[in-house]
Amino acid sequence: MQMKVKQKQPRKYVISKKLDDFFFDVYAFVQFIGRFFKELILPPYEFKEVIRQCYMVGVKSLPLITLTGFITGIVFTKQSRPSLSEFGATSWLPSLVAIAIIRALAPLVTGLITAGKVGSNIGAELGSMKVTEQIDAMEVSATNPFKFLVTTRVLATTYMVPLLMLYMALVAMLGAYVNVHSNEETSFASFIENGFHNISFLDLFSSVIKSIVFGFTIGIVACYQGYTTTQGTQGVGRAANTSVVTSMFLIFIEEIIIVQITNWFRVF
């Protein structure tokens, strides 16, 4: 009997292949976020693994955050001094530095550093687990891999980024003090008093909220990229890279939105 050969129909796209793929990816990402919240609520809870991941994200990032924070404090103070000294206003330096660090620099720099260090790490780790069937192995040994791998990592970044941000703000202020002290011989008490004089609860609160949002973004983006990796080792590299680029892009977008919302509150 003659076999009927079915003609392969060319695939039709709603807009174009690239745009269709983009919207499908966004849809899949939204579904992934939805699954995260579902798994977060439902037992069993992975407390031990969350603590282990907090250690991996938080404690292991401390050296880099310390170094970056200290340098940020020194550099920002050094760069700001000439402009202020033109108006004879170098006494405002602690206040200016504190506002800049707490409102913008600490959350943003911590977010970007964590996206680079932790985001790429999570993306590559989950990606390689996916392509070497380790995630499937976890599933067949009656462990929910989404809960064990994704939920714990996203929680860890969400918890740890605000803490790292507060720590970085402290270290950056210390760096700024070192610079101010070496030039103006200001005492530490006076530096702190002047520095925190203009810091309000809203400044600190908005920075913590910002960091929580950044932490969640870094975790969920990296986990999504890693967990959905395809195409072998090439895919692992792409997952790590896309985790960092997407997280950083989203962090800047979120920064704009949160600053705008905070400014509305500031008016009231």
């Binding site: 687990m129 069937e133 192995a137 599933e139 040994s141 009656a142 462990t143």
Partner: protein, 257 residues
């Protein structure tokens, strides 16, 4: 090592597959698979690369969903049960992956402890240690207990992968290309291990392979998968003496006479 004659209980079916279909986009991988696996039996699924052999055992383990048809494992329909029940069923299924799938971030001991600690929370530290040592002893790799997966050879990784599944004392073993990428001597060690697992633990197994030596030495029955269907099911001798041209070409390619 020659395989021992084992008693297979043909009244007790542990896996029943009926009219199983699976597609990936326009690629119809499985086109109506029917198979029964009996208690204590090793069934080898033979076929060329990309014919859906691994897809078949992933559907049995509930890692993939079928498009049509049913898979009953130990009397439970894998596609119809809830996720909690599926987790319980998976405790009775051991899955040896082609890539071994050992957790890179854990030592051999931690790899073996992982399924045990997560699913048998009442166990004491001494009991867990004993179970790990027994499983490692069963695969002859007690000395690797504190090593990292990256420090092991391909054959050792395969054996540790099998030990990790044995620790939960499964009733069914699914082997995905157990001898792929291994030299003949190491392949023979894995083949002996598969037979030893069957003898010692009375497991029923599905062995996915395109290695005819492995197929001949491990399986009581073979099923040849071609174009998404089983074209032949029977013993090694019946299949390759009376097989059609495609099956014969597969045999000739493996250079076994």
């Amino acid at each position: 090592m020659k395989k021992k004659e084992l008693h297979i209980d043909k009244n007790k079916v542990v896996i029943t597959i009926r009219d199983l279909h699976k597609s990936f986009a326009s690629n119809h991988v499985l086109r109506g698979i029917d198979l029964d696996i009996y208690q204590g039996e090793n069934v080898v699924v033979l076929g060329r690369s990309g014919t859906g052999k691994s897809v078949l055992i992933k559907i049995i383990a509930g890692l993939l969903k079928s498009d049509k048809g049913t898979v009953n494992v130990l009397g439970r329909n894998v596609a119809a049960i809830r996720s909690r029940e599926l987790e319980q069923l998976r405790l009775k299924i051991g899955f040896s992956f082609q890539s071994s799938a050992l957790y890179d971030s854990m030592t051999v001991r931690e790899n073996l402890e992982f399924p045990l600690l997560r699913n048998s929370k009442h166990l004491t530290v001494a009991e867990v240690t004993h179970a790990v040592e027994t499983a490692l002893d069963a695969v002859g790799l007690s000395q690797t207990i504190n090593q990292w997966p990256a420090e092991l050879s391909g054959g050792q990784r395969k054996r540790i992968g099998i030990a990790r599944t044995l620790i939960m004392q499964p009733a069914i073993m699914l082997y995905d290309e157990p001898t792929a990428g291994l030299d003949p001597v190491t392949s023979m060690e894995i083949i002996d291990l598969i037979n030893e697992v069957q003898e010692r633990f009375n497991t029923s197994s599905i062995i996915i392979t395109h290695d005819l030596t492995c197929a001949k030495l491990t399986g009581e029955r073979m099923a040849v998968l071609l174009d998404g269907r089983f074209v032949q099911v029977g013993t090694f001798e019946t299949i390759f003496k009376n097989g059609d041209e495609q099956v014969k070409s597969f045999y000739e390619y493996n250079f076994i006479t």
